[in-house]
């Protein structure tokens, strides 16, 4: 039972590294961006996990409830999700432009074109 409380952090670590693997090892730029959003999601999970309190409930005040989970991580992550999709859109925009200039979104093909 003691270890069960750590599973969330392990999943955070695993997801983080799955995303990171996609970013460093996959040559396809869109795949890299998908990996980046998995990476992001892992960080979101970490923050929300830290804010949880046993026996607490969501921080929306209600009569007769005294214990609430921490609202601060939730605020940070709430805005981060929307910022995340905006920056992902920016990344996708850059990928689309790269595809137009180089005719490819594969890393090695782009590098080859650059060397010429």
């Amino acid at each position: 039972m003691e270890l069960l409380g750590l599973v969330y952090y392990w999943v955070f670590a695993i997801l983080l590294m799955i995303g990171f693997y996609a970013v460093i090892a996959k040559p396809n730029l869109i795949k890299k961006l998908i990996g980046l959003s998995i990476f992001q999601a892992a960080v979101f999970l970490l923050y929300i996990t830290m804010g949880k309190i046993d026996g607490g409930t969501a921080p929306i005040l209600q009569d007769g409830v005294t214990l609430y989970s921490n609202p601060l991580p939730q605020v940070l992550i709430l805005t981060a999700i929307v910022v995340g999709i905006s920056t992902t859109a920016l990344g996708l925009g850059i990928v689309v432009r790269i595809n137009e200039e180089y005719g490819s979104i594969e890393e090695h093909e782009i590098q080859e074109r650059d060397r010429q």
Binding site: S37, V82, I85, L90, I105, E107
Partner: protein
């Protein structure tokens, strides 16, 4: 029991993430990303983060899929290359994973009320929300009032990202935002899927209405400008998918959208400046009305409105920019 459900969902999350990275078809990867987001939202919900789950739902269910598909349509849907330095990458990744997992043994257990993170500011916010702001949703109170500067910054990041996409995708080809309106053939839209069109058209007003509800009910329940912006944008995107971009742009022209992008951020800033003019600090809403608590209410509603307008504008601008790029 609930923690077991959570762990089960986490296991599914890891499987999905692995499948996303392994999948060679980017198209399948995008569909799996939708499932990933659903799992993420369910997990947030189990961890008491109703507001965050609502945001993830509003963004992940429609908009992120649509954006990725928009980019895929412009680039290509299959990975061609094989992973470079695969073994090296795997090695680095596995070692780092083990290191991070080793580090977690020193972390406080899930839900520990004595964890350091629970000792500071968090309890203070909960305590003071009832006293200083007097709205039930502590998340909205922290977002809008206690940490209004942060949120202002985030809104400007969203704003900048939207402007960035418009700049990038209007470069060189001589494409101007206004041109989108002219480039579409009239037979756009899901003309030959009759049933989805009829049902979808029926749903659009409800989605829009629900967006407004989330916007203005954000003080009392889960919701607020960020979620509402995404939901309203979803309803317009659905309209564009069903009826074609041209009709959507007739309803909400690009010019209006650009005004929305700037206007929301400006409204947020203007509320801050109004506070200064009335003798308070920047983003101090207490001076907006004779009663400080009423002033806080007015301030939070106004800045949430600003957030909602900017988010709607940016998401729609980005969507139209991708869609138009494909047709030029």
């Amino acid at each position: 029991m609930i923690i077991l459900f959570g762990v089960f969902l986490l296991a599914l999350l890891v499987i999905t993430a692995l499948a996303i990275v392994r999948s060679e078809s980017l198209f399948a990867a995008v569909i799996l990303t939708g499932i990933f987001s659903l799992l993420m939202a369910a997990n947030f919900f189990l961890l008491d983060a109703a507001d965050v789950a609502l945001t993830e739902a509003a963004i992940g269910a429609g908009i992120s899929t649509v954006l990725f598909l928009g980019a895929l349509a412009l680039t290509g849907e299959h990975e061609r290359g094989i992973a470079t330095n695969r073994l090296l990458a795997l090695g680095v990744v596995s070692i780092t994973t083990l290191l991070v997992i080793y580090a977690t043994f020193d972390k406080p257990r899930l839900g520990d009320p004595d964890a350091p993170v629970q000792q500071h500011v968090g309890p203070w916010y909960l305590e003071k929300t009832a006293e200083l702001i007097d709205i039930p949703n502590a998340v909205t109170a922290v977002l809008g009032s206690f940490r209004g500067y942060d949120t202002l910054g985030e809104v400007f990041v969203v704003f900048t990202a939207g402007i960035g996409v418009l700049f990038l995708l209007s470069a060189r080809t001589g494409w101007r935002p206004e041109d989108i309106e002219g480039v579409h053939a009239p037979e756009q839209g899901l003309r030959h899927y009759l049933v989805p069109r009829v049902v979808g058209r029926m749903l659009i007003p409800f989605i829009f209405l629900f967006g407004l509800y989330v916007q203005f009910h954000g003080d009392y329940g889960p919701g607020g400008g960020f979620q509402a912006g995404a939901i309203v944008a979803s309803s317009v995107i659905l309209y564009a998918l069903l009826e074609g971009e041209k009709r959507a742009l007739e309803a909400l022209p690009m010019r209006v959208l650009q005004w929305l992008v700037a206007g929301g951020a400006l409204l947020y800033g203007a509320v801050g400046v109004a506070g200064m003019l009335l003798g308070g600090n920047f983003l101090d809403y207490s001076v907006l009305a004779s009663d400080p608590i009423a002033g806080q209410h007015i301030g939070i509603i106004l800045i949430e409105l600003g957030v909602g307008i900017t988010v709607t504008g940016v998401l729609l601008c980005v969507f139209h920019a991708f869609a138009a790029r494909g047709k030029v």
